[in-house]
């Protein structure tokens, strides 16, 4: 928690003390407190019941795994990578279930102007190899993201940090390119986990996390055991064993047969089967969305009528019900999900309107010839959404093709390159990040090439704005601008599903992603000590 104290913002371990009457939300406006209770369904509540017990061996099967699996925090990109990261490493800041930042390896974060941040590290933290955590480790861990050879997933976010330097054995000063109220949330992203100074070899993990890596074979399995010297709340489980099963049916079979205890990316179509057999389903309303991006700087997207027509073609209820079988929340063509504290609830919901679509498409003068929706299994459910959209377009008098592309090469070759392509965006830690990374004019992931100087100005204003009410109003306007101006069409936000055996306890929904924002190994326990049916 943090509180404002004479203009100096402090986020520190002492924040839980009664001396800090100002709530986190009021201080920074980062998020809702107690969102977990709001998010939790009835089953989730049942999950929390019981007294945790120590011990047991937990086996997880995630969706994606290949020789590209990594233990390098900078390169982590698929769910299993993040599960590994959350188990073996810690960040300076940790995001809670509602994505509100809390201090972790950093004992406190202080700033006067939101531009220069002073970080004081927790004392007495050791890496798995026994070495103590020092400022040089943090400087190395953060600075390396800017080196192109590291191939960091967060190079763009890292470039906000203009200089990172140690000011003492346990103090680090970070100077940003501009003020950013949400900077702690950036530090809370899993890719910014702290590793030992000078680490180049990632065949094993040397972190500070609650588990110690005991084996790592990319594309095969990862094993870990509880870190007995963990600085924080120790994990309940003795050992963990992570594998990936990409084939949907096989992954569920492994759970049903008792070969694994928990699976990520449960398929909505198998939820009925899992429930009838007594398995639990954890629904996490994450901010992940699959969107259609129509490039505004190319034919046909440079025609406003065409873009409007396409937006009216999307039957959002059908996407939610037929593609996600109800495990989704309808989107309104902007990236802020309904659970977000800044969600603009009063913005009119855009709906399927075949007549208007037909009118606009006709007025655009475009014919469907040579037009195609580029989609790929790489972007979750995009092929199915494309099928729906194509049929709707046909009904509205326009024959658009579908080009399904292989997973590999899709992001680099087709996504954002083609006039109409589907993308998939992960939950961002803050509204600022969601707008900055995908909608600001300079954003490299500005999918529709939408450029609006007024939007950029508002974004900067909100980033440095301390008054939550003002921020809320700015974000509200920005959602409306994205909804009406950009060429991005967001039909739905996905609800992430995990399925687990009855003995797995302590799972809670998390807005950051599946498996409690990938960090479930830190808090789940096994009811029967890990013995199986």
């Amino acid at each position: 928690m943090r509180c404002r104290d004479g203009g100096v913002l402090t986020m520190g371990a002492g924040a839980l003390s009664p001396h800090c009457p100002v709530s986190r939300r009021a201080a920074l406006g980062l998020g809702l407190g107690g969102t977990a209770a709001i998010l939790a369904g009835p089953r989730a509540a049942a999950q929390g019941a019981g007294v945790p017990r120590r011990g047991g061996h937990l086996r997880l099967a995630g969706l994606a795994g290949s020789t590209a699996d990594t233990l390098d925090p900078a390169r982590m990109s698929v769910a299993n990578d993040f599960v590994r990261g959350k188990s073996f490493y810690d960040g300076l800041v940790a995001l809670d279930d509602a994505m509100v930042p809390h201090p972790a390896l950093a004992e406190r974060l202080d700033t006067d102007d939101f531009q220069t941040w002073h970080i004081t590290l927790r004392r007495g933290v050791t890496f798995h190899d026994g070495g103590p955590l020092t400022a040089s480790d943090v400087v190395y861990s953060l600075s390396r993201h800017k080196d192109p050879a590291v191939a960091s997933q967060q190079r763009i976010a890292a470039q906000q940090m203009r200089d990172i330097r140690a000011t003492g054995p346990l103090t680090v000063e970070i100077g940003l390119v501009g003020p950013n109220v949400d900077f702690p949330a950036i530090l809370g992203m899993d890719n910014f986990a702290v590793i030992r100074d000078g680490t180049r070899n990632f065949s094993s993990a040397n972190g500070t996390g609650p588990f110690i890596c005991t084996g790592f074979q990319p594309g095969i399995r990862t094993t870990g055991r509880r870190n007995p010297d963990y600085w924080g709340a120790a994990a309940w489980l003795d050992t963990i064993d992570l594998i990936a099963i990409s084939d949907d049916m096989s992954r569920h079979d492994a759970l049903l047969s008792g070969d694994v205890d928990i699976i990520g990316s449960a398929n909505p179509r198998l939820v009925r089967l899992l429930r009838t057999r007594g398995f639990g389903i954890m629904e996490s309303p994450v901010g992940t969305y699959t969107d259609l991006a129509v490039r505004l700087d190319q034919v046909p997207g440079n025609n406003a009528d065409f873009v409007t027509g396409i937006k009216y073609l999307v039957d959002r209820e059908q996407v939610r019900d037929s593609v996600f079988l109800g495990f989704a929340r309808i989107g309104n063509d902007h990236p802020i999900p309904p659970e977000d504290p800044y969600f603009a609830a009063d913005l009119p919901q855009r709906a399927y309107d075949p007549d208007r679509a037909r009118f606009h498409l006709k007025r655009s003068g475009m014919s469907g010839k040579d037009l195609a929706f580029f989609c790929s299994p790489a972007a979750l459910a995009s092929v199915d959404i494309a099928v729906l959209l194509q049929y709707a377009a046909q009904r509205a008098g326009m024959d658009v093709g579908i080009r399904r592309m292989p997973v590999d090469g899709y992001w680099s070759q087709y996504w954002m390159k083609m006039p109409m392509s589907f993308g998939n965006t992960n939950a961002r830690p803050s509204a600022d990040m969601a707008f900055t990374l995908s909608f600001s004019s300079q954003a490299s992931m500005n999918e529709s090439r939408w450029r609006d100087p007024r939007f950029d100005a508002l974004l900067l204003q909100a980033r440095g704005e301390r008054d939550d009410t003002v921020r809320r109003r700015i974000y509200h306007d920005m959602q409306a601008m994205v909804r009406d101006g950009s060429g991005v069409c967001i039909p739905a936000f996905t609800t992430s599903l995990d399925a687990f055996a009855p003995q797995v306890r302590g799972l809670r929904p998390n807005r950051a992603g599946q498996l409690m924002g990938y960090g479930f190994t830190r808090s789940v326990w096994l009811d029967d000590g890990g013995t199986h049916r």
Binding site: A68, R75, M249
Partner: protein
């Protein structure tokens, strides 16, 4: 006999080198034509043009394709398959354990399917035209016509999920005793053997019937030699060449042609490694896998030819 085998093997080796070179060049050419490269894989969605370009430069991927091939071929001549572009680890370290796993699975499948298909093939030959022969034929064809992924999926769902008779995953780390080996390998081997046996026994039957139409077999039949004797001592020796050939071909595909079974049972083998590496554009690993598949194929077919020549009563009929 030995005099004719020496040159045959030598000639085969020379020819194999040519085939290997062809495969290597073909695979490299295709991988070079694939859209995207390792830099794109590593960066994923954050692959902005400039980020990708600087990573490419840092990884020396901006060299022309022929130059990379040249370096790779030079290393390969010194028996060094190089390093994986993706992980930076030596390719041999990645491939080694997978090759072992694949050979284990292929070996177990061969141990089941070769005797089984020989027995079935011979039985069908002896019982030509009977109900047994017909039933076996329809069964085999039926087995081959259902996609392997469906057979594997149904097998797991029925035997692992419904009856808990076997694990759903072929977890090779769980094998510590012969009994566990049987438990873990039961379903993948059964799935693979189903398809392999169906093919092999059909081919064995065809080869045997081909031999059966020879006049000297008819003679033996007329002389009243018992059918079992005819099959085992008259027909089989003459059909060994084609039969061994058929077996060799079926077996050679057990290494790289089992991507479905590896995926469904989460078995870490060579085929899965190659699929992963193609997806990641990890060219040295793809090349190494292709090379191994090709060598195994050539070794098996050469072996089959050697057996055929060595066993043929009247020399090599070509």
């Amino acid at each position: 006999m030995t005099r004719s085998l020496g040159p045959l093997i030598l000639g085969r080796l020379a020819a194999s080198a040519f085939s290997l070179a062809f495969v290597v060049v073909t695979i490299f050419a295709i991988t070079a034509a694939l859209p995207g490269d390792v830099a794109d894989t590593l960066l994923g969605q954050s692959a902005t043009p400039e980020a990708a370009a600087s990573l490419r430069h840092a990884m020396a991927l901006d060299q022309p394709a022929w130059l990379r091939f040249w370096h790779w071929a030079g290393d390969m001549l010194h028996a060094d398959p190089g390093r994986s572009l993706l992980t930076g680890r030596p390719v041999a370290e990645l491939v080694g354990p997978r090759l072992y796993n694949s050979l284990l699975l292929a070996g177990a499948t061969a141990a089941v399917s070769v005797p089984l298909s020989l027995a079935l093939g011979l039985a069908c030959t002896m019982a030509r035209g009977t109900v047994f022969d017909r039933a076996a034929t329809v069964l085999m064809l039926g087995t081959v016509s259902v996609p392997v992924f469906l057979i594997a999926t149904v097998a797991v769902f029925v035997f692992a999920v419904q009856f808990h008779l076997a694990p759903a995953l072929a977890d090779i780390n769980a094998v510590h005793s012969p009994l566990q080996f049987v438990r873990v390998f039961l379903m993948p081997v059964a799935t693979l053997s189903g398809a392999t046996t169906a093919q092999m026994s059909r081919m064995i039957r065809a080869c045997m019937i081909d031999v059966f139409s020879a006049p000297w077999i008819e003679m033996a039949v007329l002389k009243g030699v018992p059918p079992v004797r005819i099959v085992l001592f008259h027909a089989l020796p003459n059909a060994i060449g084609p039969v061994v050939n058929a077996i060799a071909l079926s077996l050679s595909s057990l290494l790289g042609g089992v991507v479905v079974v590896e995926t469904v049972f989460s078995y870490p083998g060579m085929a899965g490694l190659m699929v992963d590496s193609v997806a990641a554009r990890d060219v040295p690993v793809v090349q190494c896998c292709a090379l191994i598949f090709c060598m195994v194929y050539l070794a098996l077919t050469t072996l089959a030819d050697v057996v055929a020549v060595a066993s043929a009563p009247r020399g090599r009929d070509r």
